[in-house]
């Protein structure tokens, strides 16, 4: 196995956000393991006819095959986000930082939260939905502004867990 083939394998791993790949070719074996895949992707279908220069992959293990409903990570997270949990929007709508325009915001940077802490309201079709933190920790960043439109999966806040 030469360096070009290994390079292609590592690119394949990053593209498909795989944490581990093992290839067997006769009595040669190579195992590549990758750190830092934060969010497991749903099980990916690997193409049945890989490039001719590589032997067929024997086993491809997505980081968490038991949780196919988890949203896929788009890219490797930057180093600054290492260890942080993201609070993502579960719906489409308008983000509000407080319960009404006069009230103080639900949370600010540095506030502690528990899973049941309400951190925002998202409004859609005149219905106001309380958004809970779902994690324990300290609010590290707030990624959106009051009255911003948010989409499904959009990162609202980052939390340093404890």
């Amino acid at each position: 196995m030469d360096i070009e083939e290994i390079k292609t394998l590592t690119e394949l791993m990053v593209e498909n956000d795989l944490s581990e790949i093992m290839i067997r070719d006769g009595d040669k074996r190579i195992m590549l393991r990758r750190q830092g895949a934060v969010e497991p992707p749903p099980p990916q279908i690997v193409m049945s006819n890989p490039p001719a220069t590589l032997p067929s992959p024997v086993v491809v293990a997505p980081a968490n095959a038991a949780n196919p409903g988890a949203p896929p990570a788009a890219v490797e997270p930057p180093a600054a986000d290492a260890g942080l949990e993201f609070i993502k929007s579960p719906m489409v709508g308008t983000f509000y930082a407080a319960s009404d325009p006069e009230a103080p915001p639900f949370v600010k940077i540095g506030d502690p939260v528990t899973p049941d802490t309400v951190i925002a309201i998202i409004e859609a079709m005149k219905v106001f939905n309380e958004i809970k933190a779902e994690v324990s920790g300290i609010i590290e960043t707030i990624e959106v502004h009051n009255a911003d439109a948010v989409e499904f999966g959009q990162v609202l806040m980052k939390v340093r867990p404890e």
Partner: protein, 453 residues
């Protein structure tokens, strides 16, 4: 009642139809807002839209079928109208109603006509009232088995047991005699209840070796209505269309004229507006019978666009904005012959098993009179959550013979791999003497596949 043209439209769909609608919007100077599931994050048409909003996880039930999230996206993006495409929520009357209740126009017919024509038994009644021949069968839903037996004996076995809330070829069972009929009715009801949430069924005579011919119509909100001729969609595999063409070889000009006028009578009786398709079944004697109405734009609409030169998506948008249909029937000419093939990511050698995966080689055909509608490209990954159609390939020529020769050439040029596609099966069809001579029926493909001839 003249409204203003929309300034922003949300496209509540994905894949090639989303691309089709976005293209129409761009040409009309209308802003487009695309919605996508996390599985479609890399879809290329998202970048052609003015804005793209993620509405949920990959399964349709978490995204493209989520009326609440789609309307929420429409609100945050401040759109004037939603185009539902085909499939998903396109024929969901509740969704049409919710849009309009939220002061967002639904680019399609009224919720009431979706409901009325979506009930297949009610649609048959309407057709009869409009003096259109229907496939012989029950007047409405079957009350009990004895009634089913009586009707089946009247129209003659074999019969089809069909779901009132079905359609698109789903939820049908054949009965060749009374004993089978009694046995199959309860199966049919259970299947219908599970698939459509409605266990009502009705009976139709089974037309043997039928041809499927449908008529495209356009109607505005001012009572004007035109037909845009027919499409022959006889070539199907398990009730899924593979090849569509116009004009149809199954009917002569007299029948063509009668069917197109009959289609107009049905949609007028339903106070229908927008684009729609009236489906007929044609028997081997050339007799035609009303089947159902599809209250949406269809996959194969480009066949009609090619022979008439009329842009159906743009007309849907204009009609929804209150515009008057400026077409008169005599302006709707048909020119030449057009054929469409659907290229699906399926393995024809393995019972058409879907083949999701990455496309690394993608070479589209081209040349005079070719239309290739596809959202795919080299590097695109087909995901397993949605239908397997990758592309629609159409040719338009003065005659059917030339169109067939051209299509053969295009199929040879088209390279999509390494995933398996239905191109090899299409090769066989376009080289098959029965298809070339036009002697086909809806069972043709299944028989060809069994014989591998």
């Amino acid at each position: 009642m003249k409204k203003r043209m929309f300034s922003r439209i949300l496209v509540a769909n994905r894949g090639e139809i989303a691309l089709r609608i976005i293209r129409a919007c761009r040409e009309m100077g209308i802003e487009s807002v695309a919605v996508y599931s996390e599985a479609d994050r890399d879809a290329p048409y998202l970048r052609l839209a003015d804005r793209a909003i993620c509405i949920g996880g990959p399964p349709p039930s978490q995204s493209y079928l989520r009326a609440d999230r789609i309307i929420a996206a429409a609100e945050v993006a401040d759109v004037d109208a939603i185009h539902p495409g085909y499939g998903f929520l396109a024929e969901n009357a509740d969704f049409a109603e919710q849009c309009r209740d939220s002061k967002i126009e639904f680019i399609g017919p009224s919720a009431d006509s979706i409901r009325q024509l979506g009930d297949k038994a009610a649609a048959r009644k309407l057709a009869k009232k409009a003096r259109v021949k229907v496939v012989p069968g029950s007047d409405g839903a079957i009350e009990d088995n004895e009634q089913a037996v009586k009707i089946s004996n009247e129209v003659g076995f074999p019969v089809l047991i069909k779901a009132v809330s079905g359609g698109g070829g789903r939820g049908m069972r054949i009965a060749h005699n009374e004993a089978t009929l009694r046995a199959q009715i309860s199966n049919a009801r259970t299947e219908a209840a599970n698939a459509f949430g409605d266990d009502r069924i009705y009976i139709e005579k089974l037309i043997e070796r039928p041809r499927h011919v449908e008529v495209q119509i356009l109607a505005d909100q001012h009572g004007n209505c035109v037909h845009l001729w027919e499409r022959d969609c006889t070539l199907q595999r398990r009730h899924q269309k593979l090849v569509e063409e116009s004009p149809s070889l199954a009917i002569n000009d007299k029948t063509r004229d009668a069917m197109c006028k009959a289609a107009l009578r049905v949609v007028q009786a339903a106070d229908y507006f927008s684009a729609g398709t009236v489906e007929f079944v044609v028997d081997h004697g050339g007799g035609y019978y009303f089947l159902e109405v599809n209250t949406r734009i269809q996959v194969e609409h480009p066949v009609t666009e090619l022979i008439t030169g009329i842009d159906l998506i743009k007309w849907m948008i204009k009609i929804a904005a209150g515009g008057k249909l400026k077409l008169r029937q005599k302006d709707v000419e048909r020119n030449g012959a057009a054929v469409e093939v659907r290229i699906n990511a399926e393995d024809p050698d393995n019972d058409f098993r879907p083949c999701p995966g990455q496309i690394t080689e993608f070479r589209a055909p081209g040349g005079f009179g070719i239309r290739f509608d596809s959202h795919a490209y080299a590097g695109y990954t087909i995901v397993p959550y949605y239908d397997s159609m990758i592309a629609k390939l159409l040719v338009h020529r003065p005659t059917r013979e030339e169109a067939i020769v051209c299509m053969r050439r295009c199929l040879e040029e088209t390279q999509i791999g390494p995933i398996k596609t239905t191109i090899p099966l299409l090769h066989r069809i376009f080289n098959h003497s029965a298809f070339i001579s036009g002697k086909i029926d809806t069972g043709f493909i299944d028989r060809v596949l069994q014989n591998k001839s």
